[in-house]
């Protein structure tokens, strides 16, 4: 009895601690939401009054729209390219008969371990030579470098857990190697591909270091615009932009969990 009580006291303490940590992690993010409704021309906490002007500015001002569209385009293309290359590389590493698989695997994951600033510097040198700085293809290549490791982490884990007899069964039942991939392997690793895609998209949308080095002078991404605004003057539009993204992120998570649920039923 006594033992049980002690245990529940411990549980309450642990629960309280976890709640505190959670609040500490999430609160600053949440606070940007009310701050975006302030009437003042600068970022203030607590916000004064209620106004939608900063949201309006974010959604109508070209200064904000253009970088947003550029960032979304960049993230979308990066995601598709990373998924294709990452999935194919994962298949080769898990299924293929290759010498030095482990070293190759590490090689593909290395952009995750090397400090981004080092990668940025290295890529800058090469891009300068090939005149890729400030171009969409250049940005896609740069972000794909850091996108591929995310894809490969998820997809290789998926493939290692994959029951190989399913592919053998498909072959035995008359499906060619390609059809086996399309009808059996791909649908079964789809949850992994979706998860990897979300990681990639967010990583690209959020990335600033490579952008600072490679964006040149004519283009702007959203994080760069926000960074510039904060540097220049602390505009509440930054909070409004953040709010829109928080809502979009929450929406994505809810949508994904609904997709998962729908599948289970």
């Amino acid at each position: 009895m006594n033992h049980e009580q002690k245990l529940s006291a411990g549980k309450i303490f642990l629960g309280g601690l976890v709640t505190l940590i959670f609040i500490f992690l999430v609160l600053p993010t949440i606070l940007t939401v009310p701050m975006s409704f302030t009437e003042t021309r600068y970022l203030a906490f607590p916000p004064k009054g209620f106004s939608l002007q900063w949201h309006q500015q974010f959604l109508t001002d070209n200064k904000w729209i253009e970088p947003t569209i550029f960032s979304l385009k960049l993230a979308s293309i990066t995601t598709v390219v990373s998924l294709i290359i990452g999935t194919m590389a994962s298949l080769a590493l898990v299924r293929g008969i290759l010498p030095g698989k482990r070293i190759l695997h590490l090689f593909f994951l290395s952009p995750m371990m090397i400090p981004l600033i080092v990668t940025a510097f290295a890529v800058y040198g090469i891009f300068a030579t090939f005149r890729l700085i400030g171009t969409m293809p250049g940005m896609v290549i740069a972000h794909t470098i850091i996108g591929i490791p995310y894809v490969m982490l998820v997809i290789t884990a998926n493939l290692y857990r994959f029951d190989l007899s399913l592919e053998l069964a498909a072959r035995n039942l008359g499906a060619s190697a390609l059809k086996t991939f399309m009808y059996v392997t791909l649908p079964l690793i789809k949850p992994g591909i979706i998860a990897a895609g979300v990681f990639c998209f967010i990583e690209s949308l959020d990335e600033l270091v490579l952008v600072l080095f490679l964006i040149g002078t004519t283009k702007m991404t959203l994080p760069l615009r926000m960074f510039a605004e904060i540097e220049f003057r602390i505009s509440p539009t930054v909070a409004a932009a953040s709010t829109v993204f928080i809502i979009a992120a929450i929406g994505t998570i809810i949508a994904l969990s609904f997709i998962e649920k729908g599948k289970k039923q």
Binding site: L166, L168, A169, R171, N172, G174, A175, P187
Partner: protein, 361 residues
């Protein structure tokens, strides 16, 4: 080795598979008759699954050939072989419902939609799972999943069906039920089936012929009763059923058979007509159920012994009886047998008829 009763549909010719230094399959030759139910029986690692994989096309033989319907299929990709296969773990596609699982081989063969529906329905009827079309594999029990796997292997009318220990994951009752059901399907469709198992009982129940495998080789091929009654070597005698092995030196041969000198000083009579050299050492197999208590019997072989152990196993009782100093003989008796129960430590006289001994290689 006995040959199939009909023309062979499948021929393995000097089939060999080497994995590095390990020889998994060692020059196996076997003809399998059209419509036959043949079982590859052996302990794990005996090469039976490797043979199945070479027939299905998942492994390429190091040597030899696989002939299906008089054509070598060695160089064909698995998807071109048109052979049904039921996997040990069923290998149903978890993202497809029952209907789509069974329809898969038909869709790959580009059957018209109406044909597919009709064939899927009749396959489901055969395995008695009509009405399960929209269920997903994980919503089915192990036995039901197994039936769907069988239906999927049958549905495209392949001339040959392979089974890779398909009942291994089921409990004993269900396994016995499925054995009979598969046997019924075999009788009904008259399709050639090659079945892999390590379970001798399963092999005895289901097969027309059994090929007993050991260390990559076939030890003996024959119908179940022949393998049980006339094993040609110790491995088969031991793997199918239980056996006592009795060794002795030939001291006499006449029209009644052989007389052997056993090392415990006993003389043993054996029914054997082929000439044997006097003084040769010969090994025999004696099934435990062929031995009986012989207090007042006219059996040619009677031996005194002491009961070392009595084990009650339901329908039978097992006795371990020590003969002389070094030999222990296993004997089995039906529990229903009337008479006094024998106790551990009791002195008994046991006997067997000379026909009960089988000479081994």
């Amino acid at each position: 080795m006995s040959a199939p009763t009909k023309d062979p549909i499948l021929q393995l010719i000097d089939l060999k598979k080497q994995f590095g230094d390990v020889t998994a399959v060692d020059n196996v030759s076997l003809d399998i008759g059209d419509g036959e139910f043949l079982t590859l029986l052996g302990p794990s690692g005996s090469g039976k699954t490797t043979i199945l994989n070479m027939i299905a096309g998942f492994e390429f033989p190091t040597g030899g050939d696989v002939i299906l319907q008089e054509q070598s299929i060695n160089s064909l990709l698995p998807e071109k072989r048109n052979i049904g296969l039921v996997f040990q773990n069923y290998a149903l596609f978890p993202h497809m419902n029952v209907y789509d699982n069974i329809a898969f081989p038909l869709k790959m063969r580009k059957f018209p939609k109406n044909d597919i529906q009709q064939k899927v329905e009749s396959a489901l009827e055969l395995v008695q799972l009509q009405g399960y079309e929209t269920r997903f594999p994980k919503q089915l029990s192990g036995g039901q999943q197994q039936r769907i796997a069988v239906a999927r292997a049958l549905v495209f009318d392949a001339p040959l069906l392979l089974f890779d220990e398909p009942l291994g994951a089921l409990d004993k009752k269900l396994r016995e039920h499925m054995q009979l059901e598969l046997k019924h399907i075999h009788t009904k469709l008259n399709r050639t089936m090659v079945y892999v198992t390590h379970d001798q009982e399963e092999a005895l129940v289901m097969s027309d012929r059994i090929a007993v495998m050991n260390q990559g080789r076939i030890e003996q091929v024959g119908p179940p009763d022949e393998l049980y009654d006339k094993p040609t070597n110790s491995f088969v005698a031991n793997f199918i059923g239980e056996s006592n092995f009795i060794e002795g030196t030939v001291i006499e041969q006449n029209h009644e058979g052989l007389t052997l000198q056993h090392r415990e000083g006993l003389k043993i009579k054996v029914d054997w007509s082929e000439p044997v050299q006097a003084g040769a050492s010969i090994r025999f197999c004696l099934r435990p159920e062929k031995i009986f208590f012989a207090d007042d019997s006219n059996a040619q072989n009677c031996i005194n012994g002491i009961i070392e152990e009595v084990i009650y196993v339901g329908e039978t009782k097992r006795y371990m009886i020590r003969i002389g100093e070094t030999e222990t003989i296993h004997m089995r008796e039906m529990s229903t047998r009337i008479g006094r129960g024998r106790q551990k430590g009791e002195n008994v006289k046991i006997g067997w008829f000379k026909e009960s001994l089988r000479k081994l290689e």
